[in-house]
């Protein structure tokens, strides 16, 4: 029931007045229902046949008159429907899905459900983008930049000025580390350079723990804390900087140490930062001896007090810390 001149009208009208189309749609649907009921009436009257009248001619005349009425009703409804369908128009050819909409024409839905999966992936990526935007605005409120770069430095200056604290000669780093190592008698610090110029320190604290500290020039990048009796080298004989400790207490201490290296920040004086971090780490020499300052017990959920306050170096359980 489509005519060629409706195509153009449909394309133009589609975007502009969707409301009209919907109205005409509902009228067209009721037109279809009217047409169906008039066609049904025709067949019903045929089925019923001639009604009982006195003469045969009377019966035939009445039957024919009724039949004609019904057919005229069908014709009327059909014309009405044609008129209404013209108002509805065609769905626009240029649907906004472009090429991906052609995937929906694939009939084999259970073997290759490409279109539905595509829609899901699109919705997922939209949600992900939205959540990432929220997260980045929240995270930007708390500045965690530890280097000396100024945020929003003018575009002219940025490529020329290198942050001076990120490019330090390895000899200077070695000197600073060995000086700090000499400060604390019960802590020994060994320096390795297994991958390039980044230093990796192996800090042995008494007979309590061994910490592996990965540096980036004089900034502490990450740290792993393991027990005194655990293996620090992997099969090739190199320092194993990735494996977590097998003991829960040292996994907790690793988390606390990561918090500490983010806490101690002084972009212009990284050697002070390293010294503060080592002083903090040294407070773990009494990891198993100290009781919690708050609750007085040694154990909480099977763990000794693993948190050390950043200022006072007092021992607390992770759940007791203030």
């Amino acid at each position: 029931m489509r005519r060629s001149e409706e195509n153009n009208g449909g394309k133009m009208a589609d975007v502009v007045n969707v409301g009209v189309n919907l109205d005409a749609f509902s009228h067209a649907i009721s037109g279809i229902q009217a047409l169906r009921s008039s066609v049904t009436r025709v067949f019903e009257s045929l089925k019923d046949g001639m009604k009982n009248r006195e003469t045969l001619e009377g019966r035939e005349k009445e039957f024919l008159a009724e039949f004609q009425d019904n057919l005229q009703a069908v014709n009327r409804d059909l014309n009405e429907l044609e008129r209404l369908s013209g108002l509805v128009g065609r769905p626009s050819e240029s649907h906004p899905l472009h090429n991906s909409g052609l995937l929906s024409l694939d009939p084999v839905q259970d073997k290759t459900p490409l279109y539905s999966q595509l829609l899901q992936a699109y919705k997922w990526s939209n949600k992900l983008q939205y959540h990432a935007g929220l997260a980045s605005s929240l995270l930007n409120q708390q500045s965690l930049k530890r280097s000396a770069n100024q945020i929003g430095a003018s575009a002219k200056r940025r490529p020329k000025v290198q942050p001076s604290t990120l490019v330090l000669p390895p000899q200077y780093v070695d000197d600073v580390i060995s000086r700090i190592g000499r400060m604390f008698p019960d802590m020994s610090i060994e320096l390795f350079r297994p991958n390039g110029t980044s230093a990796v320190l192996l800090v042995t604290l008494g007979k309590v723990l061994k910490a592996i500290v990965v540096m980036r020039s004089l900034f502490i990048d990450r740290t792993v804390v393991r027990g005194y009796n655990e293996n620090v080298y992997n099969e090739d004989g190199k320092l194993d900087i990735w494996t977590k400790s097998q003991y829960q207490v040292f996994q907790k201490v690793t988390d606390h140490a990561t918090t500490a290296l983010l806490h101690y920040q002084l972009p212009q004086m990284p050697d002070v930062v390293v010294r503060s971090f080592m002083t903090w780490l040294r407070s773990y020499s009494k990891l198993f001896q100290a009781s919690c300052q708050r609750c007085g017990h040694f154990l909480q959920d099977g763990l000794p007090p693993t948190w050390r306050d950043f200022r006072t170096l007092e021992a607390f359980h992770d759940t007791c810390r203030m």
Binding site: K207, V208, G227, Y228, N229, Y247, Q248, V249, F250, K286, L287, F288, Q289, S291, H297, F298, L299, D301, G302, L303, P304
Partner: protein, 210 residues
Amino acid sequence: MGVTCVCQVPVAEGKSVQQTVDMLHKKLEQLGSVKQGSFCVDCETYHATGNVGQPSKLLYVMHNSETPLSCMSLFEGGPCLVADANFDALMSKLKSHFQNAKGHKVESRGSRYRYCDFLIKVGTVTMSSSARGISVEVEYCPCVVPGDCWNLMKEFMQSFLGTSVPELPSVFAAKPEGLFAAADCVDTMTQYLELFNKLRKLQIPGSNVR
């Protein structure tokens, strides 16, 4: 290998050995421990037949399921040798020097529990298939120095042993460096040996132990 403490738990009043062991298991599970299989520590006695006239020294050969590939042999209060599992075959070849005192084999068998970084082993000590007592071994794995973590271990043992908490094992205090030397498996075995000898000397009582 951490710091271990082996102690004996007296059988509860009016209960059998098995019932006391079950009570301990229940207390451990209430704390939140997870059962992780079973363990076995056994000890065989050998007489040294070398010197006539001198009292024969006793050599104890012990195995621990925690270190299944090792075999430890020690003289009471004397040196200890840690060898691999073939040592048993070697002992059978040394029949002329060391006689196996059959029927003196003592073993402790039971379940092994893990709570956070603690390993708890509750076992029934049997000698020639008669139950003699209950042994409890508590190991704190991350620490190697007994002096550091003794208070911590005592607090933990109090939570499920109640009043029968032992003192610091003498094996640690007897070392030249004292409490601050690193602990190892030899100390564990020495403690088990002391416990087994104590239980061996107990005569088989009438009704208590069944």
